[in-house]
Amino acid sequence: MTTELRQTDQGRPLPDDRLKHVLYLLRLCRYFDERMEALYRQGRLPGAIYSGRGQEGTHVGVASALEPDDSLFPTHRDLSAQLTKGLDLNRVMAQYWGRIDGYLRGRDGNSHVGDWFGHRTFAVISHLPIAYPVACGAALAYKRRGDKRVAMAICGDGSTSNGRWHEAINTSSIHRLPVVWVVNNNQYAYSTPNTLEFGVPTIAERAAAYGIPGVRVDGANVLEVYAAAKEAVDRARSDGGPTLIESVSLRWRGHAGHDPAKYMPRELLEDHMANKDPVKNFETWMLAEGIVTAGDVEEIQKRVEGEFEAGFEFAQSSPYPEPGDVTKGLWVEDGYWTSEPGRGGGTEAS
């Protein structure tokens, strides 16, 4: 069963205002992704970028199923999920430019962001399956204390080849931990296709090996993704244990900004862009259902563009961290992270 993409009739699974918010998030994430890539190509953005374009349905869909107290262990490619969790765009953009107002005070850049004490998101680590065991630990804490909370971890298809992925899912099954395992199967791990990552037809069917439910959904349909995630989150919250969700999409861009992805068949990409665009699909559905008008969509787009411009300005005017603070914050007792940081680093990079 899990080899098929799940098709259900969702109707309207959320109130209209929340559906409108989903559309806003999809539009925001798409616009952010496109603009940041343009800035990167113009040499105006330092560091790296990891585009999530074409996969917003997966990331917005799964994160929409979480409550504020639930934790999210994301990857560099699913900034959309963190924005759905509520991260402030200004502070996210300050992080990209290495500024003190970024969530990590310039200690890390790009989408390696996180806001643990605020929105309960783990600061992304490049070794992607590394967060799976950590999510187990958060879920263990919830279970031990009887908190009705859930941990959700996201990774890509490449991570499923790694031992941590297996260890963590196995352990979560043994202890029936309240955790949701999400795999954004965007069909490529850097340049490596699914066929060179695993020898089974789908990732979702591996759930059977751990004795947990597995579901395979269409990442181009944000409502299908949301429904699967909501079911999994509810199961975890009611002591039903973990679930594995495979959401199938395509990585429209290269692994990172420098990668032209010439290894990807052109017709595959064109098919996805034309027929499996999660943003366009959802917008079409919202218009057809009469939940939004063309005017509403235009207004959402204006809001998104305004927020991006404001975020850009905020980031440019935020100071760099002070060089003298470089060794601070290693140990808890030096107090760096519990006090206001120095703001005398200026706004000009060397």
Partner: protein, 348 residues
């Protein structure tokens, strides 16, 4: 029920580690470590243990024997053989306010959790400000004929990770006080228990519930005036034996026990060198880029004007720990090697 068990333990018949002291009230290094764990588990319900075979079996070296009966399987958690996940779970639960103490059956198996230790545990607070009060415990060191995969001294690997305090006690009291400090510390701590010491060394160990030994402070275990032996772990006991032999030949060696190898207590080391002007750096970690290399460099850099002889290092070569007694004895610095080194230094 629980209280009754504790009382029975105190009488020497039950689970509580303190009941396992000798009639004279001495505790072995192993029992002192168990006492620290027990007391901190009693004191703070956020403290819990996880690891392989630590529950019903009581751990590979029986440090946690009796704990599951007292604290239950919720706080004494047997894990699958998945070291990355043991460390990762410790991290995740610490992020949510728990205070995990993870046991490795041997410190050698910490390498099976290396990525979670060095990439997540060591770096996360500096990047994000989220405290990770995690303790990783494991038996380290050689001299017990356990060969390549059960004898390692991994302290340089983890001291080099940057964000982990690395503790290597030599005496039961220090082990107890330092482990209690580590469990109460808000930073990641690695606690390396030298398995050669476990059942060999015993002493009267403090019983006060708040007996703590500060992390990052060395201790002079024997005062001397001619040569300073800077060391830690099982080598402290070799150094003390050598110092005793040397005293009979009229030479006075001071033995400085680092106790914590990272952060390094430079002040205590440098004060000793100012006094003796001669340094023997003795370590069971490899000579090349081992803990001794860092100590020797620190002395050369900061105490040059006090030195009357070149700094000498004594530590094993960079080869796997061999099994056969003749080979392992040739591999490890021995008491006679230490005496010879002190004599060489004294001749300057």
């Amino acid at each position: 029920m629980a209280k009754a068990q504790v009382e029975a333990g105190a009488a020497g018949h039950g689970a509580e580690p303190r009941g396992k002291r000798t009639e004279a009230g001495e505790a072995t290094y192993l029992i002192a470590i168990a006492e620290a764990l027990w007391e901190e588990m009693e004191r703070d319900e956020r403290v819990y243990m996880l690891g392989e075979d630590i529950g019903a079996y009581g751990g590979a070296f029986k440090v946690t024997e009796g704990f599951i009966e007292r604290f239950g399987d919720g706080r004494v958690m047997d894990t699958p053989i998945a070291e990355e996940t043991i460390v990762g779970m410790a991290v995740g639960s610490a992020m949510e306010g728990m205070r995990p103490v993870a046991e490795f059956q041997y410190a050698d198996f910490m390498s099976s959790g290396f990525d979670e230790i060095t990439t997540v545990l060591a770096r996360y607070h500096y990047r994000s400000g989220v405290p990770l009060p995690v303790v990783l415990r494991g038996p380290s060191g050689g001299g017990v004929r356990a060969s390549s995969f059960h004898s390692i001294n991994p302290e340089p690997w983890f001291a080099h990770a940057g964000g982990i305090k690395v503790i290597c006690p030599a005496f039961p009291s220090d082990a107890k006080g330092l482990l209690k400090s580590a469990i109460r510390d808000d930073n990641p701590c690695m606690f390396l228990e030298h398995k050669w010491i476990y059942r060999r060394i015993k002493e009267i160990v403090p019983e006060e519930p708040d007996f703590l030994v500060p992390i990052g402070k060395a201790d002079v275990k024997r005062e001397g005036s001619d040569v300073s032996i800077i060391t830690y772990g099982a080598m402290v006991h070799k150094a003390l034996e050598a110092a005793e032999n040397l005293a009979q030949r009229g030479m006075s060696a001071e033995v400085v026990d680092l106790r914590t190898v990272y952060p390094l207590d430079e002040d205590t080391v440098l004060r000793s060198i100012e006094k003796t002007s001669r340094a023997l750096v003795l370590s069971e970690s490899y000579r090349f880029l081992g803990i001794g290399a860092e100590v020797a460099a620190t002395i050369a850099e900061k105490a040059f004007e006090h030195l009357d002889a070149p700094v000498e290092r004594l530590s094993p070569p960079n080869i796997p720990v061999p099994f056969s007694p003749t080979l392992e004895d040739a591999f490890l610095p021995g008491v006679s090697d230490i005496e010879a080194a002190v004599e060489r230094l004294s001749a300057w």
